[in-house]
Symmetry: C2
Subunit: 246 residues, 2 copies
Amino acid sequence: MDAMREKTAAIIIIGNEILTGKTADENARYLIGELHSLGVALRRIVVIPDDADEIAATVRECRAKYDFVFTSGGVGPTHDDVTIAGVAQAFDRPVMRHPEMAAIVSDYFGAGIDESRMRLADAPAGSELIYAATARWPILATGNVYVLPGVPEIFRHKFAAIRERFRAAPFHTAAVYTREDEFDLASRLRQVAAMHPAVAVGSYPNFERGDYRVKITIEANEAEAVARAKSFLIALLDPFLVVRSE
Amino acid sequence: MDAMREKTAAIIIIGNEILTGKTADENARYLIGELHSLGVALRRIVVIPDDADEIAATVRECRAKYDFVFTSGGVGPTHDDVTIAGVAQAFDRPVMRHPEMAAIVSDYFGAGIDESRMRLADAPAGSELIYAATARWPILATGNVYVLPGVPEIFRHKFAAIRERFRAAPFHTAAVYTREDEFDLASRLRQVAAMHPAVAVGSYPNFERGDYRVKITIEANEAEAVARAKSFLIALLDPFLVVRSE
């Protein structure tokens, strides 16, 4: 899409409770905004059940295709917490008790800790623990896969602790609002997209307020490419029908 | 998961605007509740960019795995509206001008209709138009893939017009709220899941209000299986720590 290769990401939300509507997703919603403000191109969000094989297949595909993969959910102690097993399978690695994590968990729960609590120290072999000043527990990463918990407060807290490592070239966005009809704009927008392949051109008809009919967006992580495409677009539009641009 | 084969579904949300946070998804959110109340097991939600190849790959996989696939978005007249092309590719069929749809579109826009508007009549070859009393325009289905628009009001309106064709055996759900700790419950929940394979057992720790520590859910589309698993579970719990059950 542009000269500098973009950094790309996928989000995998794991949990029957989302698919059955018992809980509304908050984590993908939060991460969409974070990744965009960091300049990372989010390419896919997948919501799947608590099933180790499905997790494995989805993680395997995403880790190969995207720079960063974030999983949400399935990391507690119960039978339906199978994310660790799924991620391990996606990397063809066994699940091992991570020694550093075992020390942290033992220290936290104290003497007489049972197997159910010790399972918090299980991780795909070769996983990394990322320590952050603002997070009590380290964040687990297996290769390019960051394994985050489903509880929204903890998810946000953990992501916030590591967010700066994902920072890329920021996105630049322009928007033009017009009263022209989307049908009438279609061939001109096609021209903009064809002549300016470095930018993403979006077209969003407005069915609500009466102020404009279509919002056209231009986005890239090169400011100049956006400015050039925007000028090119504006020259093609009926100036009397452009409401505003930003 | 049970004796009667469940009906399963996937939702594919198509749109850069969702992945970049310009627009928040409303359609998956709506359809999650609709499918659950219809008794259809939603197995996957995928959000992908406006890219015909990605749409094709995702639709191809989902249409083979699930009974019903619903797409949202990418059906307007502009260069970034490539859902029809993607769905056609997923079925290895060409895009054709659908004769019935062409008549409807011509009738709506009247004489002198241009190519940009006529494109609304394009569909994967062999697609079906579903007419509903409550919907002005028919709903497009290609095999088991229902192609819906991204604009939330129209998405809901079109789905509502065809929802009864998806009705299956309703889900039955029980929930038990306890003050026991999830770590301590883990092995007992594993036992419930193992002894009652016909039900889905979920465990949701509560980090917010103080009333209970864990909500345990049991769900299936056989009421008796749910009742049996619930009795089995309750017998395993500390009765003094059960807050309530429903």
